[in-house]
Amino acid sequence: MIVGERKPFSEILSMVEGDSKILILGCGSCVTVCMAGGEEEVKILGSQLRMAFRRNGNNAEVTELVALRQCDDEYLEDTPLIEKVKDADIVISMACGVGVQHASTFFNRVIDDKTIRVVPALNTTFMGANIDVGEWHERCLGCGDCVLEKTGGICPITRCAKSLLNGPCGGSFNGKCEVNKDTDCAWHLIIERLEALGELDNLKKIEMYKDWRPSHSGGPRKTVREDMKI
């Protein structure tokens, strides 16, 4: 899932300075699960904004809504939602960066009598897993050419600070990474897992340099399923 964190309140407040009708739009998927931009967080931000406005004698109106997903037209094609967006001076999106961009493009495509301003309330941080209650860890960088079959299901690209394909480096110490003592050495984990799997021989194969073209280094990527298109 996509993990994000809410921006500091002062930063969000400065984005809506001078606006009198503010719509906060949450996302009911990834960012709800990581407790950054779902219904609860929308209401908390709404409450904070109203309190801050009242303190400053500002009469701005704050509306709160949630779309199940902001990265898909299907969940934005909702007449009452579009009407609310039309009525607002600014939309604060609490989705990940994908959702903010998609909602902005969608609203500006379907609404033609004005240009809709959509701003982010979150910093999108990574693709990760829920490790414990209230804790998420980065697990995949979307490199476009997955190697997990060779590394016992542990990603060296993401979890090794140096993205080594033939690890570990000399800094691995007691199972921890030299870059950050709180982080497990990915290669330590890989070797343990390969041993348990009886696949230690994998380590004897030297991995050649990685082709980064399928990654973001080759520019923004897209996936097209021709069989799904008419």
């Binding site: 500091p8 309140f9 002062s10 609860e40 209401k43 908390i44 409450s47 904070q48 109203r50 309190m51 801050a52 009242r54 303190r55």
Partner: protein, 136 residues
Amino acid sequence: MKEFEPRIIAFCCHYCALAAADVAGKMEFQFPPSVRVIRVLCTGKVEILHLLKALEAGADGVVVIGCKFGECYFREGNYRAQKKVERAKSLLEEVGIEQGRLRFDFVPGPGAKKFAAILSTMTEELKALGPNPLRS
């Protein structure tokens, strides 16, 4: 001019604080009449939004009163409540509202005296802070 009587919303755990409130009433331990008690099954059920909404609606202070640590009927509800109060305090600070308007505390099962003391202390502290600035 009428003296300012802070309005306090007290989220009280059914198993300790509520019992203490009852006993306090029966034993005639005085606690301020402007306190509104809201019974919750466990303080762990109190959400950050409840705390913010109470202040947004004009309460001068909000207190969550649970069991002593280690004695929560649901084991960890009071630990959760304490953390939520701390987070709500930082959210309030971001909007310029004093952290002192929010408080977490605990009473032992029959702690009527402590219950009354928590509310009296909070009342005094809120009198010093003045009314919730959102009401003016």
